[in-house]
Symmetry: C2
Subunit: 303 residues, 2 copies
């Protein structure tokens, strides 16, 4: 059984002269697109599956956490059930199944995903119900990326923010290494609950699930554990329009040869919203993952 550090892959640092020339900024990409299962979520999922005593883990996810948890459980010989909307893309359902998990499809018109998780939790004895972000084991898993970033002399690190799992993990890692980089969150303008929370000094949720193209950041609210770290750990949050998210995804493709999902492009999108802010700074753009529907990606390239 591998330890967390043995199981994860180090992040992939990418520097592109073309991207630097185009933006006239000192940018380094830290890409999690080649992490196991294609996103940073594997760091969290493996740490969680490794450390909970339960033999079975249950989560609701139509995205990266479901795949990551399924694969982590496969590696650790634990049972895994992932609740997914029945209208999820077939390729996403297949990915979870191929990693050996049970998929529980719900008609979200009839029953909510979280409601279904609670139903199942009462039916499966001794199951651990995993949140994709609001869990100390998740944050600890993601903090390994903060450790990796601490080895470089970045002035600014920009991280996508959805539920806050990644940013709080990075913050924790930077903090324990005494790294002085400013950590900036990049959040879709259409899903700006974290930015509003930071302004209000308390968690402010979205009223409904936001329909930004950055589907990994369509969370209703920051998690409580994440907020506890982020309220002081983040210097600021930049709200990124969907237009800039799309532009950033395209630039990463054209200038850095990087395929990433729209949520992963949030950090470059934040730079595009306000380039002047980053002049003369050594900036790290965290790209959280690469899993994107081919047809959506084709449309992004065509914008």
């Amino acid at each position: 059984m591998k330890t967390l550090l043995e199981a994860i892959r180090p992040t992939t640092f990418i520097e592109s002269e073309k991207l630097k020339t185009f933006t006239n900024l000192d940018l380094t990409i830290a890409s999690e697109t080649f992490q196991h299962t294609g996103s940073f979520k594997f760091r969290a999922a493996y740490n969680l599956a490794l450390n909970v005593p339960n033999d079975e883990i249950l989560t609701a996810s139509s995205g990266n956490f479901g795949q990551a948890l399924a694969y982590a459980c496969q590696l650790l010989n634990k049972k895994c059930t992932v609740v997914m909307p029945e209208n999820s893309a077939k390729v996403k359902i297949e990915a979870v199944v191929n990693y050996g998990a049970t998929v529980d499809l719900v008609d979200t018109q009839t029953v909510g995903r979280n409601e279904r998780v609670l139903q199942l939790a009462t039916q499966i004895p001794n199951v651990y119900v995993a949140s994709a972000y609001d869990d100390l084991l998740v944050i600890e898993g993601n903090s390994t990326l903060g450790d990796e970033l601490s080895a470089s002399d970045f002035d600014v690190i920009i991280s996508p923010v959805g539920g806050g799992g990644l940013a709080s993990g990075i913050s924790k890692g930077l903090c324990r290494n005494g790294h002085q980089a400013k950590l900036i969150g990049a959040e879709p303008l259409l899903a700006n609950d974290a930015a509003r929370s930071l302004r209000a000094g308390k968690i402010v949720p979205n009223e409904t699930e936001p329909q930004t193209i950055a589907d990994g950041a369509r969370t209703i609210s920051l998690g409580k554990h994440n907020w506890a770290i982020l309220q002081n750990g983040l210097t600021e949050i930049i709200e990124v329009s969907d237009e800039k998210i799309i532009e950033a995804t395209r630039f990463l493709f054209a200038l850095a040869n990087l395929k990433c999902e729209p949520t992963g492009a949030l950090s470059l999108g934040a730079v595009l919203e306000n380039r002047e802010k980053f002049a003369d700074r050594k900036v790290c753009l965290v790209v959280s993952g690469g899993n994107v529907d081919t047809e959506i990606y084709r449309r992004i390239l065509d914008f």
Copy 2:
């Protein structure tokens, strides 16, 4: 002034569970898509520009070698002229210009590219005329990738073959490290001069420039220096249909989150042509570069 090893980036090793599961093979990608200027050619170009005594270098290239040489000369404060067809994609011309080189546009209906290079060579005193593949300095530069691959226990290494610069470099690197991996070339079926050369035991050229989608392999013939190494250094050459090249490019996108150019996908294409051959082998797929026109890539994703 950086040495070659200081100037180049190490290759990016990528393993994808999805790709392994899909092919049922033990595949590792060695991607040069994040090398400086987006392809392995920078290894060759830097070594050449570093070691020739001339202050000015001239080449004909509409593709990766032109960009690589331009950037290498920029880093080494040498002058660089790249002859390109006047109908080259604007983005490719701009890339060379942005790396600080002079672009000489030729109407290839009127004058051949190589003819134009010879014209210019007589006009520019003490210029070095660089071949993208048929040069010992090019091979030596590319051999650094062979050194890197020698650190892993691959049974088989598959490399794209155009002029033979990359494959001969890898062969040289493996050889001097005493590595026993079989080196297999992957060549477009539509541009199979190297495969025919290997069968004939001598260099056999294509009659005209082949129109395969793998534009990095549209060479008329192997270089003489490359052939001297490859005639014994290659175990075999697998001829890959354009259909399989396209399929491989799409699989790398969908299963490994890797954006690559069609020429770079040749090595996976070779596997798709004959999966059984690679069962129970630890296989390394060399992906030579990532620079591809966005519209061509969009069409590939739509196949």
